[in-house]
Symmetry: C2
Subunit: 339 residues, 2 copies
Amino acid sequence: MHDKIHLNMGSGGLASRELLEEVFLPLLGNEVLNLLDDSAEIALGSERIAFTTDSFTVHPIFFPGGNIGTLSVCGTVNDLAAKGATPVALSAAFTIEEGFPIADLRTIVHSMRDSADLAGAQIVTGDTKVVGKGVMDGIFITTSGIGRVLEGLHIFSGGARPSDLIIISGTAADHGVAILNAREKLGFNPEIRSDVAPVHRIVERISHLGPQIHAMRDPTRGGIAGVLHEIARASRVTIKIVEDAVPVRPDVRACCALLGLDPLSIANEGKLIIFTAPESAETVLECVRKLPEGKEAAIIGEVEAEPYSEGSPPVILETSLGTRRFLPLAEGEPLPRIC
Amino acid sequence: MHDKIHLNMGSGGLASRELLEEVFLPLLGNEVLNLLDDSAEIALGSERIAFTTDSFTVHPIFFPGGNIGTLSVCGTVNDLAAKGATPVALSAAFTIEEGFPIADLRTIVHSMRDSADLAGAQIVTGDTKVVGKGVMDGIFITTSGIGRVLEGLHIFSGGARPSDLIIISGTAADHGVAILNAREKLGFNPEIRSDVAPVHRIVERISHLGPQIHAMRDPTRGGIAGVLHEIARASRVTIKIVEDAVPVRPDVRACCALLGLDPLSIANEGKLIIFTAPESAETVLECVRKLPEGKEAAIIGEVEAEPYSEGSPPVILETSLGTRRFLPLAEGEPLPRIC
């Protein structure tokens, strides 16, 4: 174990998992936290509640397609959605550097309201801390959310089963590439926009399938590869992904190719990965595609029928050339402050 | 309105209220948020849930009596308690600077677990973001919490009534003075310790009094004065505090006198202010004093019987000399990063 925090430890990749296993889980571990889902599910009276939190430190705070405010609300709504829950109430905690422009804060808070409205949720509680100039860079926002788990849904990362089909609700890597383009002023034209958006409607549309939906995640930090690794690990299954089946916008693909990045490892902020029983996959696909935010949904792979064997690579990529190779879990996101 | 964020805007005083009224409430305002209580109360099925969030940026992160981890858990537990709720589940979101010592993180997380154990709550979900060296100073933690509101309690800042008696559960200003002493190396000896601790047991002990308890707050940023101003404003009452009745440790009083600080305006992190019907005040006091954390509880004032009149000072201090003067709401905490 390292003795100092490395950038990669906040990236959603291998180093993040190490930090979890070395520091957080041994001290805080309990039945709920140990599931390592994006939301915790807790029972309150007769209600099943999803509860989640995320900090946002994205840089730049304004980017094509959204800003840190949009991201903070959608990120939390989507963590609830991936647990099969619709948002009930959100909280927002702001940490702001002295001297930060109030006009920018107003724009950010405006976007938060718009995103919350879109998700049908209210921000019901909050906090603001201000720190001296130089103590931090600009603004960080931490949002938490409470959701109501939709009846019939029991979603957790360990729920994937052999022969499940895997669906993504739209194109891969838009958010990460948009941030990279904006931060590094790569000048891709037309501008690549983040996909930041709430995905709760997708979950509402497929919730009638109930136990046919086995696992869901929103592939943010670490991208699709990160999420597939977590699900494979938690479910003890082997996953196969067909590279050509993953929808990627041409400009995003070009940018990735130029920079040597794999779109499968880049963050999304408005997508959902769904593991479903094979007999329901077409129905799921139809339901998702009927929504504007899901019109590019695609089946991208499956859970292999063979039983999982300890030590074998959990995620296999069938490449454009027809070869099969191990899809690695990145050490970390290529970029810090992606969300 | 200013055009840039000032330090005072995160202090719990007048400037914080201005920021709320100018930016947050016009954009995000709703029936629950507008109450400006430390926790939101929401109905979920047949349950009444309290929901709260707070960011912690305290400096130094280790101080006599606790650390940023203790503070982050107790702060959230206490915001739930002040709403009459016992904690059910907590979340923790970490923002950490690259290079932060993992041994320190482990100590902090250990303290979080100890405080959560003390409060009978589990941390069920979390998040870790790492930012590059220099992007921020060390570690910030944002905790959120869900609690169950105890039966019979209906607590909100607007609940104080004429003739209510006001009780504080212990000595004033310990936390703020401890941080000041630690940060500025004032060298007070013996060391002044922060009072950081959960106060939920106090609430459990008095919950049987139900509707006799009218308002509660934990006096953190802005101190007792800040909380009294908020309750006076929300309840439309005038409050009278007897200076000599407020318990203050001799070393804390000496430190405040030396530095020209008013203990009534300094942060606490393990205290509760309770507004109760006068006929129940002695019972409340007895219940609170039976707990070690409440053994120095005292009646410190009352709500004046006369109706509130617009424009008149809402909080009156009866001084040691027997004179009456207006207790002002400070522009801000004398110190940033107090919690």
